[in-house]
């Protein structure tokens, strides 16, 4: 995969930011409409795969993707531990109300899920692309 098609590159240039925007939108609408962390994560991973195919694996492999998934796990578990420290049950949900923002703390858990999905899928993509016969 050393020679990438220029068409793919041009498309990827435009598609990537769009896909990311859509992923963010899908992530936040997940509470009430179809979407959520898992789907947003898979979408981002698909975007990442496009990037990988368009610009080559060496550029994609410069980043240690597994770190993303580890950070995601820390966020998810941390979100569960916070209520524990306040003497409530692990993973207890709360609502954060600050002005116009109305956010369930489960959103942070979902954010962790998203990062884990992106990180793990990208790790697998990159590592498989780096394999040589």
């Amino acid at each position: 995969m050393t020679q990438q098609s220029p068409i793919l590159r041009v498309i990827a240039r435009f598609a990537l930011p769009l896909t990311m925007l859509v992923a963010i939108r899908i992530f936040f609408q997940g509470h009430d409409l179809p979407g959520g962390g898992f789907i947003a994560g898979v979408l981002l991973a698909a975007a990442g795969a496009t990037y990988l195919l368009a610009f080559g694996v060496t550029r994609a492999a410069r980043f240690r993707w597994w770190k993303v998934s580890v950070v995601g796990l820390l966020i998810s578990v941390g979100n569960g531990v916070v209520p524990l420290l306040r003497g409530e049950a692990y993973m207890d949900n709360h609502f954060i109300d600050a002005g116009p923002i109305h956010l369930p703390t489960a959103t942070f858990f979902d954010l962790g899920v998203m990062l884990i999905v992106v990180g793990t899928l990208m790790t697998i993509f990159v590592e498989l692309s780096l394999e040589r016969r």
């Binding site: 009430d32 979407g35 959520g36 789907i39 698909a46 998934s69 796990l73 569960g80 993973m91 697998i124």
Partner: protein, 782 residues
Amino acid sequence: MQPMLPLAVLAPFAAAAAVLLVGRRAPRAHGVLVLIAAVASFIALARIPAGDAVPHFTLPWMPAIDVAFALRGDPFGLFLALLVAGVGAFVALYAIPYMQVEDPVAQRRFFAALAAFMGSMLGIALADDLILLFVFWELTSITSFLLIGFRFADDRAKAGAVLALQVTALGGLAMSVGFLLVGQVTGTFSLSAIAGDRELVARLLASPLAAPALVLVLLGAFTKSAQVPFHFWLPRAMVAPTPVSAYLHAATMVKAGVFLLARMLPLFEGSPLWAPLLTTVGTATMTYGAWRAFRETDLKAILAYTTASTLGLITLLYGLEAPDQDALQILSHALYKGALFLVVGIVEHRVHTRDIRQLGGLARELPWAFAACILGALSMAGIPPLLGFLAKESFYSELLLNPAIGPLLARGVVLTAAVAANALLAAVAARLVVAIFLGPPSAVVASHLGAAARHRDVPPLWISPLALGSGALALGLLGLTTFTDELAAGASSRARARLHLSLVPALGLPLYLTLVTLVLATVVYWKRDRFVALQHQLTFGPSADAHWESMVALVGRIGDAFSARWQNGSLRWYLTLILVAVPALAGYALVTLGLSYRAISGSLADMPWYGFLLCVLLAVATLTAVRATTRLQAAIATTTIGFVVSMLFVVYRSPDILLTQILIETVSTIFVLLVLIFLPPFPRHDLSRSGRMVNAAIAAVFSFAITVLMLLSMTPGLREPDNISTRPGGLLSLSLAEGGGANAVNVIIVDIRAMDTNGEITVLVVVGLCIYGLLRTRREAT
């Protein structure tokens, strides 16, 4: 609430953390930290005021199942805790110079594990909750594994550590099941609550679960205290550094087993199994340990077998339901055996061997160690005025007077065994002193004597053993007053225990038995070479650890055979299993529910024309996949199937699943393309005709079963199980009320069932890391 109890237990754990944090920058501080923690725990426990009320400390831990972080300082528990902290302080003091030759990283590991062990052991002594007791119990197994395997580069150390962990952890697991049974029957895990309630004890004994519970708990106690037939791990654990052997395998950890017996005595003494099991195992261990000890040549193995012997003696006492003198026996043994082990450490440090045949004439070179060894050996032999004498007198009079022993024959057997064991122990004691210290220096000793002694700037090694030995002497001399008697009786696990200890022996049978013991010991020692030859003639059959190892190997072979049959790596075989199991289980469920495909009420009336078109496409794609001749063809066809299926979700208007399905299809297509070039050629026609027919039949049955299941799931009566309904309490209503979201699927994933998701994402992360590690390391290796 007595805050000193948790403080005493936590101090060593804090020291362990501190040792790890201080790091390699201050290697000197490690041992000192452990020493401070031991002294602090000792002072904290000693400052608990004596009174009528038993000090206790309780924090709720898992209140839903009535498990508490409950500590209780009854006299016997406090006694063991003080012993653990006190001997711990001496061992730490000894270990500072002893471990100085090791490199700082190893020292840090050693002292951290030693401190954590001390904390766990204090936890066992003070725990009042069975579950808490089990947790501390397992912690001692793990920390002792780390300590025995301290020199893990050495294969023998590794094997010894693994063996000790296997035996004690297996016993611990059995014990935990026994505890659960006790909790099940009595409804509480609190030891004092059960033991203090006659009705609960009666209910426990009347239950059919009493016998299994007792046997399981005893397995835990016997494995930990190295009782026959689980004695073999203890000599093998002697590869540990000597301070560890002295602390874990003489003074404290092996005492946990007999301590558990003391805790269980009020619960199970009415059981018909208690006395026979304990007296048999105790007598056997007492005799066998002493017998083996005389034959060994490695100093630490000798001491290990004598330890097993004394633990057998204590087990026997519990079997006779005579716990009055348990504190006396434990204290006496801890003092002299700790001293002897530490002396062996000094000898090994000086001349680099533990083989008793190569030693001799060290008295002039190591005068203080010689003094400590004499004190320890005299106490072990039971010679006045040491504490060991009082312990042995007391043991003999118990055997002579105890009403529980029963017929004259049984009393005769137990008495003979006791005299024989004690005579052998006395002969071993004589052998230790003479062979190590007296006579002219042996060749090995002489070759080391020229070298200058090391460690000028640290406390000398002999302080701790001499202190322990002097303790045995002092307590023995105090037998002239009533002090030792009151101390041992007050610390006993039986309330208002009665002992009649006196250094001035009364004329009577116990004294005569002591004389017989000493005469026998003299004879055995005099004719020691012929006696050892006789022992070797009487040895036959494979040893106990050989049996154990063949059992462990058997487990491995069963595992191998199982995976060779069921996990043979053939994807086709796995698929066959799944495709057969799913219809079978589903069919069974449907039959027991009384459902058949006739209940299906679906119709195709609301299917639009493009829906049918999609189904035709689906059929074509599926046939293409089946008939594909290359992997690429098959991959494209299956991808097509996935996308057409997701189009069907458009027809049935479920955008949620549609979105997921399309994205998953995209990602899996990328996967397939990435791995396609690594796959071997497409093996299409390697199956016989009949094999293909069987596969076709399995596929047909499977798809029929899945179709029926899916259609049935849309049938009224099955469609809306209670827990997913919009009714109050159902998941759909919970979603809005508690999660505040209208997308029930997502709210279930991230909020209501967040624990499940938590597990799944953890697996996902681990899988990612594994793939990264596996592929990276393989690439970098080539």
